[in-house]
Symmetry: C2
Subunit: 351 residues, 2 copies
């Protein structure tokens, strides 16, 4: 399969699976002709669906399992008893070298627990983080961690900075991405101990990172930096607060346009431009949280993914593979460790 | 001065002071004819300005001081050496019973430190919190803490819930406000220790609070609950993330309208409706962070306040005084303590 790139798919994960997974893969196939799929799931359901998508079928290798990780399964339970599940087999395919990455819209906690167990963290990384990109006034930025680690040490935050920087460099194609630590802004409140210690280390370390220092919540959408580093608690709340505010604003906008006949007419005239706006902030274009810090490419598509979202998530996995994210991050971590710029993992672990 | 209500003003705090303070007070005077002002600041500058606002002058008692707390002053320094400042004298006026509340657009940290020192915290409250209200899909909600306490114990969070609930009841006029704790959402991540312990206490306590449980970042703008409780680190970042996202969205909207001649025409037709939208989310209408938990009413107007913002902040102080916020919260805290529903302050304090 020279020149081909194989992506493993958990066909059974997500609210709209398997249909959204198959249609998403079919969309991705058009965008990435070099991609082949290893698809895990219930053959009795998937085979007839694939028959209706002959071009997808041609580039897909179907692997049967009737086990599925449910959405409400505890990660620890999924880890113990889900060894034959579509999610686990797709992760195994990456570990065994049959696929360059895996995409799943299934249970986030289970996906993280299984990926950590099967793929292990990279040397120099204590904990993997969830990252995603989103639109800003200046283009696109990356934020991590989005919820994998509720409590973080300074070491974790420094490692997230390195992971996020390499991700922005390889996937967003930025030459020298700037990195900021999310903090509170008032002069007298310079944040908690972890944030302060992480900032001190990022400043004094001989890292090749363009560290901007602290940023505040309003800097996220402003695009002040390319990579925003936060603990998983704060990052998750910032992400969801931004989503909620965008929804509030578009609802208010809808109400404003409906408030009179003249404004309805105005809406009709501005509609093509407003469609472009909607497309610009369409969350489906920003779907695909990546788990960074593992020995493998793992992309989590939103649980409610439709086919367009799922295709976007596949695209993120393909971009990471094509642009050599893993090789770059491994090289970077080795260089840092041999330069003594990062603590040894053993010393950094605080369970 | 029967029937009158006196508000102390720090005339020298804020980027646009004293002009914005005087003009703001003049706007507030029209809305609240019963209000009188005790105004602290530089008489040489203020007196001629007041001469040009004769109606404001009539209801204002000017108190001279040439000392000012600067924006970059450390709270501890302001506390030691700012005893004669306009900010401190205005707070003293509340403590001495000459004013029902104080409004300042000056240095936030200094205002908090001085207010705590002069007014002291209410019995049953370990630390005051900053609260503010903002627009949601359902109306208005209150969030606290917005940055006064970067690290919080479960006790702090429980006390914030009580303070926020009484604030929503007395100032927003809600009969039975619902209260939620801001947390991360995925099933496997149930937040940090403080949030979990606070939720357990709010559930089991015989509080008259309508506790909704955990909420996520997107619930803030959705208006899922009336009162959102968070530690100051998370609350500050959520607030500023929402502000930044709203700014991003309106900039994208502006660009969409400008993208073609037809969409420009659409904008002209929809303009009155869009103005209403802008007014609906105008941050100046939501200006005025209140310091809750003190023996006195303290309102912090935004540092960049214009006269409309400052008038809004005065309005918040007036609302709290008129609706008996302090009496209600004192009664509530006493009732809780005698019922043993809240830990004694001594036990709850974790310096």
């Amino acid at each position: 399969m020279t020149g081909h790139l194989t992506i493993a798919l958990d066909a059974m994960g997500g609210d709209n699976a398997p249909q959204s997974v198959l249609n998403g893969a079919n969309l991705a196939r058009k965008r990435f002709p070099q991609v082949r799929f290893l698809m895990y799931g219930d053959e009795a359901r998937l085979a007839p669906m694939l028959d209706r998508l002959p071009r997808l079928k041609k580039v897909t290798h179907l692997k049967h399992t009737d086990q599925v990780v449910t959405d409400d399964a505890k990660p620890s339970v999924a880890l113990r008893s889900g060894r034959g599940s579509s999610m686990r087999l797709a992760i195994d395919a990456v570990q065994e070298g049959h696929a360059a990455g895996i995409v799943s819209a299934g249970n986030t906690g289970a996906l993280m627990a299984m990926s950590k167990f099967v793929l292990k963290t990279l040397a120099g990384i204590d904990r993997p983080a969830m990252a995603s990109f989103f639109p800003t006034l200046r283009g696109e930025s990356v934020m991590l961690d989005l919820g994998a680690n509720v409590e973080c040490t300074a070491d974790n935050l420094v490692q997230f900075a390195v992971l996020g920087e390499v991700f922005a460099r390889t996937v967003l194609g930025l030459m020298r991405p700037t990195v900021g630590l999310l903090n509170v802004g008032s002069e007298e409140l310079k944040g908690n101990d972890a944030v302060r210690a992480a900032a001190a280390r990022l400043k004094e370390m001989s890292l090749p990172i363009d560290f901007h220092g602290f940023i505040e919540g309003n800097d996220i959408a402003a695009g002040t930096v390319d990579v925003i580093v936060a603990d998983g608690f704060t990052g998750n709340i910032a992400l969801k607060t931004a989503e909620g505010t965008a929804r509030l604003y578009s609802e208010f906008l809808r109400q404003a346009f409906r408030s009179s006949t003249v404004s309805k007419l105005g809406y009709l005239l501005a509609r093509p431009a407003l469609r472009k706006l909607r497309k610009r902030v369409d969350p489906r274009r920003y779907n695909g949280a990546v788990f960074l810090g593992l020995n493998g490419i793992v992309v989590k598509s939103h649980g409610g993914s439709d086919s367009l979202s799922f295709a976007t998530a596949i695209g993120v996995a393909v971009d990471m593979a094509v642009n050599g994210f893993l090789d770059t991050i491994r090289g970077e971590l080795e260089r840092l460790q041999s330069a003594g710029s990062m603590d040894q993992p053993a010393a950094a672990v605080k369970a």
